[in-house]
Amino acid sequence: MITAYHQPRALDEALALVARGAVPLAGATGLYTGKPRRDTAYVDITRCGLGAVEVAQDRLVFGATATLTRILDADLPGHEGALVKKGAASVSSRPMRNAITIGGNLTHVAFWADMPVVLLALDAQVEVTRPGGAVSVLALSDFLSQGTRAFDGGLVTRVFVPRRAGTRGFGHERFSRTSNDYAFATACAALRKENGRAFEVHLVLGALQPRAFRATAVEQMLEGRPLDDALLAEAGRKVSETVPVAPNFRAPAEYRRELAGVLSRRALAAAFAQAKEA
């Protein structure tokens, strides 16, 4: 049962409520599903001024409660901006995106969460603020691996996406049965191209495990090499053969494994094609 619903207007008020045990709420789209919880007080943080989207010289700055719709409507430059939007556009439906926030999509762990996939490929960072004002910034990969410990007792306040002055190329391939369905598998690639070779390769896989992860072995295989058709095919095969796939009653693991390989190949090819020589 929901015992209280707070709507503070300032961040420190919100943090004080969190310190007293209130559960933070942003989009709230998952609040009423699932089994009834024991008595809980909630603090809705969407009126604390955390919803802005800003473009700085060196990074894109997303307030944690910026809705996906606001992100899609914003003027986000570069391939980085386009990838953030691609991730946001793949989530659910319009009215859902009017409520779902970038912060919520990071903190609410679900295998089908789409924003962590693109943000991991973008080397995003997450700012967490704790009661008393202590601010820490973690790499998203650390944030995800720490689970709820990363923000327990505090709030995700901002997400940063570094802008790399157009030196990186990206590819994003997401597979679902209908267009607003959960992803069965997503592959998101990012890389830099120099002398026809790929560097700083990121290959993020989503919807295969409870959290998005980077296929580091495959990345290492590709690092510093030209991504021609043969190598891409090999990368796809390596993904299919080695990535761990958690069970999902909607589709056989074998199939999702194969899918991951195909999507990885396509995402890498797209990233390589998009990346401009430095």
Partner: protein
């Protein structure tokens, strides 16, 4: 009706009478009625697929604060009935009780509860003290009738109320066998014999409004149920039967309802609500959740085996169709859906011999009921896929193969007479058939010749496929519809009909038909429908009967009323009544003098020889003239992911006269898209204990606006003499085309033949791999 004539209202897309009210949020659905003081009704679901309730003690449940009533099987009459909303005597087994001491699928009824809130009711359900004897479930339709399989319906009361095979010991609630000619002889002399088996899957209608019923006792000790139903009169009769009370003690009212598609051709909530209302004497609202809706009623999964013999020129010699239908835990619609697999598919083509052999089996799975298409959907997949296989093997173009074989105007099929619904059918000759034009127009519209056999390069291939279809219009000699019409002071009319508008627009269509006869605009006819106290009888909305049958009753009532109007008018104008004609809201003498209908109305009600100008007329049909349709589809197949997308879908439809073209198109468009998601994305995923794992829209996918193919529905008018103003039906047929047309298009694109639906990406990929070898 003999000849096409100059129609003024019929054939126009007049706005549906309730559209504006709906667009303004003012039309009343069940849940919008006065709910003050209403309790919540709840059905405690079975956690087991197959189990006996050895002992059930509701003491703690009843003691829970906020619980008003808990009914177990010991608290309600034990009267076997069927929930199938069909005419009496129902061609479905009486194998259901309001509550039983046995449960037969996960979600089956354990107990009924009325409480202050749903949460309290659910808590009370958890407080039931039950000794279960868990039984081995039957989850495989192919093993359901094997010797030694657990018997699902072992209760002595279970019986088939009509003369038809009923073999519960073999888990077989229905069997049928008919034939004409010698199939094996014909096969033996055929140039090509194909023997194939196709199978279809569980699906749900997904009306956006789930089943819902509001009930109370009125001041005269009668049970009033305001309910989301397609069959108000069957609901009244069967609820009375199930509780052992007289029919006159129940009133069923259908308000606006949020879709049905056959799910609500089921007397599902009404008997349990009547029981709860009687026990509590309180107003109660029972709404199924979406999860409960998914296991309320479903489409029968069917395996269709075909042996078909062709001559070298592609003409069919013989067809043997073998059907195995999984009816789930109860046998409602088991026999009839099974028979329609044959009766709505086999007559489409000429042949020298035909045989139909079918069995429906019980399993401990959700119950198959009536779902738009009703067997034709399942069997058309098989037949129209096999026709494509034959076309390829014979080297005959697929559309041409249909042309060489399909039934034509004036022709008949032995299947009509031999295969009814559990008994012999009704012979008929085809009075109208626009299929040739349907095929031509659709082929051109999709770009058949240009696109066929051109998959393109790259991993995503394209293909086109097609199919031909027929359905029926009402159940001949069985269905009956009645309409009443009375005249008002101002020359307007009140039309009351039992016919059930579930969003199909039947209220409007009936108004148009009456208006055409009476020479007025459709808005001069005020329609009220589907109240068992106030409207005359109608079997309800199923078997594509409303326009064809209820429409005919409306036409007859209007003709009779028109005759009475002429009598009054002739007294006013002089001259014989027969010489007068009705048009533009007036009655005209041959010399042009006229009286308005308002003048006739006032005179007849108040002035001279006062009487109510009114009529109640009934209609039954002696044939079930098929609408025809041709579906042509363009798909893309991603050969690396297995994803199939429909790019373009063209459906041409011969429904005779479209009384209201936009409504007819709307029926076709909705049915087509439902067929597409049925073919591609809808599926039930069961766990090993028979529980559905995905009873929600997050995991059971129907299409939204971002999934749409380019769709074109083209009406191809013909004139069906036996139908009102030349009309046939339109509401079901177009759901049947997607499975075969898409399967055929996939074959054109990538050369794989999918025989198991749905065409999920993993199935497609697997088939592609097998082909690559």
């Amino acid at each position: 009706m003999s000849e096409p004539c100059d129609l003024k209202v019929v054939g126009r897309s007049v706005p549906k009478v309730d559209s504006m009210g709906m667009a303004c949020g003012l039309e009343q659905y069940v849940g919008d009625h006065d709910l003050a003081g209403a309790l919540v009704g709840y059905i405690v679901p079975s956690p087991y697929a197959h189990a006996r309730i050895r002992r059930i003690d509701a003491t703690k449940a009843r003691a829970l604060q906020g619980v008003h009533c808990v009914l177990t099987w010991q608290d309600v009459p034990r009267i076997a009935h069927t929930t199938a909303g069909q005419g009496w005597v129902e061609p479905s087994p009486y194998d259901t009780f309001v509550l039983d001491s046995k449960v037969r699928f996960v979600g089956d009824r354990v107990a009924l509860i009325a409480a202050e809130t749903r949460e309290i009711a659910e808590e009370a359900g958890r407080l039931l003290d039950i000794d279960w004897e868990v039984l081995e479930p039957v989850l495989d339709d192919r093993r359901a009738f094997a010797p030694g399989a657990p018997v699902i319906h072992d209760e002595p009361e279970a019986r088939m109320p009509i003369t038809a095979p009923y073999l519960p010991k073999e888990n077989t609630p229905a069997k049928a066998h008919m034939g004409d000619g010698d199939v094996d002889v014909e096969l033996a002399k055929s140039h090509l014999v194909l023997r194939q088996e196709y199978s279809t899957h569980y699906a749900q209608h997904c009306p956006i409004e789930p089943h819902v019923t509001l009930g109370w006792m009125d001041s005269r000790d009668r049970i009033v149920l305001v309910t989301s139903t397609q069959v108000p009169f069957h609901a009244r009769r069967i609820s009375a039967q199930a509780l052992g009370i007289p029919v006159r003690r129940i009133r069923i009212v259908k308000p606006r309802i949020g879709g049905g598609f056959g799910a609500k051709q089921e007397v599902l909530l009404e008997p349990v609500m009547a029981a709860l209302v009687l026990a509590t004497r309180r107003k109660i609202l029972m709404t199924l959740t979406r999860a409960e809706e998914f296991v309320s009623r479903t489409r029968h999964p069917v395996r269709t085996g075909l042996d078909v013999g062709f001559n070298a020129d592609g003409t069919i010699n013989a067809v043997r169709m073998r059907v195995l239908s999984n009816t789930g835990a109860y046998g409602s619609h088991a026999l009839t859906v099974m028979c329609n697999c044959g009766s709505k598919v086999l007559p489409l083509y000429r042949m020298n011999a035909v045989e139909f052999e079918a069995r429906a089996v019980y399993t401990n799975l959700p119950v198959g009921g009536a779902y738009r298409g009703y067997g034709a959907t399942q069997a058309a997949f098989a037949m129209e896929s096999l026709m494509d296989v034959a076309a390829e093997r014979l080297g005959i173009e697929p559309v041409e193969l249909r042309r060489r074989n399909h039934i034509r105007e004036g022709e008949t099929s032995p299947v009509f007479a031999a295969l009814g619904e559990g008994k012999p059918g009704v012979e008929q000759r085809i009075g109208s058939c626009g299929l040739p034009q349907c095929l031509d127009i659709a082929a051109k519209e999709i770009g058949w010749a240009e696109k066929r056999g051109k998959p393109g390069s790259g991993p995503v291939k394209r293909g086109v496929g097609m199919c031909a279809l027929m359905q029926g219009s009402s159940i001949p000699e069985i269905d009956m519809a009645a309409v009443s019409l009375k005249m008002n002071d101002d020359g307007s009319f009140n039309l009351t009909a039992g016919a059930t508008d579930l969003g199909t627009g039947s209220d409007t269509v009936l108004a148009q038909i009456a208006a055409e006869v009476l020479g007025v605009g459709a808005d001069e006819i005020v329609v009220a429908s589907s109240d068992t106290d106030l409207t005359p009888f109608d079997v309800g909305a199923y078997a594509s009967s409303t326009t064809y049958l209820s429409g005919e009753a409306a036409r007859k009532a209007a003709l009779d009323v028109a005759g009475q109007i002429r009598v009054v008018a002739s007294a006013m104008l002089g001259g014989p009544a027969e010489g007068l004609s009705l048009r533009d809201g007036a009655v005209f003498a041959p010399d042009g003098r006229r009286v308005t209908l308002a003048e006739v109305g006032l005179r007849s009600l108040y002035e001279v020889d006062q009487h109510q100008i009114a009529s109640t007329q009934s209609a039954i049909s002696h044939k079930s003239p098929p609408p025809f349709s041709a579906h042509f589809v363009e798909v893309s197949v991603d050969t690396e992911t297995g994803q199939v997308k429909v790019l373009k879908y063209v459906a041409t439809v011969d429904c005779g006269t479209a009384i209201n073209p936009k409504l007819a198109e709307g029926q076709a468009e909705g049915a087509v898209l439902n067929g597409v998601s049925f073919a591609l994305t809808e599926e039930y995923i069961f766990d090993e204990n028979g529980r559905m794992r995905n009873p929600n829209f997050a995991d059971y996918k129907i299409f939204n606006t971002t999934d749409l193919p380019e769709m074109r529905v083209i009406l191809v008018p013909t004139w069906e003499r036996s139908g009102p103003f030349g009309a046939k039906s339109v509401s079901e047929i177009c759901i049947n085309g997607a499975l075969p047309a898409i399967a055929n298009a996939i074959h054109d694109a990538v050369g794989i033949r999918l025989m198991v639906a749905p065409f999920t990406p993993d199935r497609v990929l697997k088939a592609l791999k097998e082909k690559r070898g």
